[in-house]
Symmetry: C2
Subunit: 290 residues, 2 copies
Amino acid sequence: MFERIALIGIGLINSSIARFVRQDGLAHEIIIYSRRQTTLDKAMALGLADRAETDPAAAVEGADLVILGAPVGANETLAKAIAPGLKPGAIVTDVGSVKSAVIRDVAPHLPEGVHLVPAHPVAGTEHSGPEAGFAELFQNHWCILTPPEGCDAAATEKVAEFWRRAGSTVDIMDAEHHDKVLAITSHLPQLIAYNIVGTVLDVEHVTKREVVKYAAGGFRDFTRIAASDPEMWRDVFLNNREAVLEMLGRFTEDLAVLQRAIRWGDDKALEELFTRTRAIRRDLIEAKQV
Amino acid sequence: MFERIALIGIGLINSSIARFVRQDGLAHEIIIYSRRQTTLDKAMALGLADRAETDPAAAVEGADLVILGAPVGANETLAKAIAPGLKPGAIVTDVGSVKSAVIRDVAPHLPEGVHLVPAHPVAGTEHSGPEAGFAELFQNHWCILTPPEGCDAAATEKVAEFWRRAGSTVDIMDAEHHDKVLAITSHLPQLIAYNIVGTVLDVEHVTKREVVKYAAGGFRDFTRIAASDPEMWRDVFLNNREAVLEMLGRFTEDLAVLQRAIRWGDDKALEELFTRTRAIRRDLIEAKQV
């Protein structure tokens, strides 16, 4: 599919991409860049690339596909750094969880004739680093493309086909709508998981040993989510600020009502909410999302 | 181990008990009570009991072990109802997620010579009803006993042995401490899951179809938790009100700080929290709690 793919950043997502590209022979050559030499060494030892570069412009030279896979806060700096190396007709894509910010930070710095096709593979685990990746990560997951207005249709289709080869189902939507949808289905849950785990760790009248011991009661599920990559998520929240704050406002409002219902013993209100939330699970099961 | 076990309520937990009792021959006879005839019919069809009773007192007659397995809010009514049928020396236990309330609601109504040994098997699924149970539910889980002061040591040991036979590890603690620990590890996470699913369902600018579609981003885990039995959880929150409200206050406080950090772009604060929460996961893995 491609002559040369340049992977900018080689964490969980990009290292999984390297694996399926190699496995299915989707590129003749893979070049990787990371700002950390140790990460590059690990990735090379794992056989994930043909060449490692510590200069972003050198990494993207001659590449027909460039995939930005660093935390989204690094995109602007990286876009400036790769720009001199990009060849005409190259496609630049990414794997970030926010999409308006990518267009804002990357598009202005790309030379004419280079196509930006932002992508968000909705897949991941709580592990990070090049050793955490695996070729099957994207299978049976959605990959959302948010091509900006005027984006080259052939470039978009090529990125779409790339993700289909990864085993994903491709969806195309507006970047702003993507950020609203994901603020709900992903960013808010992630934030709440971080918050609850933080709250629990601070409790002084129950030992951490007891928390660990009885974590099966529900807390455990939150710890898995809250074990996800700190830098990646820091940048997601900072770069989808408005949508996240909007959802957080709604969440807090609802929580105040729930708190009041508990304080005043409003059994009807509790039962009504808990019955309503149960129903969505059936929808997920029917949509084969569990 | 027992001549006759009476199961008061035959939902997920008590029907799982019926299954392992039968499987391991821990009682000669199982009698079940439910306030719903259809539930009794289902349980009898599943072969879970020798006899079904619609009168609580008749159900416990001659039983040497009585297990209360209805939502905890029903305990006081049930304790009054079974009292006339209880034989001297019988052990009354339960399976509820709150323990101070059980002692408060049940103890005053039991005849002299009957032993109350409250128990909390820390196990469950998001399914409910007699068809949802399975014999292995309690294997490799904790079961916490909270015998009140002056409780008969032999009765406590008998209940402990019963749970060991179920495959659980038994822990003994004070009811009040139990309620604080579980408010943290179980009740707060459950409440937050209900709240977030409720908030998401109310969002009007994103369709439910989209929420279902992209639920893999994190929301999915919350829907599983929020699919748990509504009546059971309503009663847990109302009967562990103080500890739950205390934890909720801490959670809300922390969330306000987190919200402010996002609004003002405090990347250090976000990264610090997210790094701290990641560490607890390692503790859980080391404690074999995942």
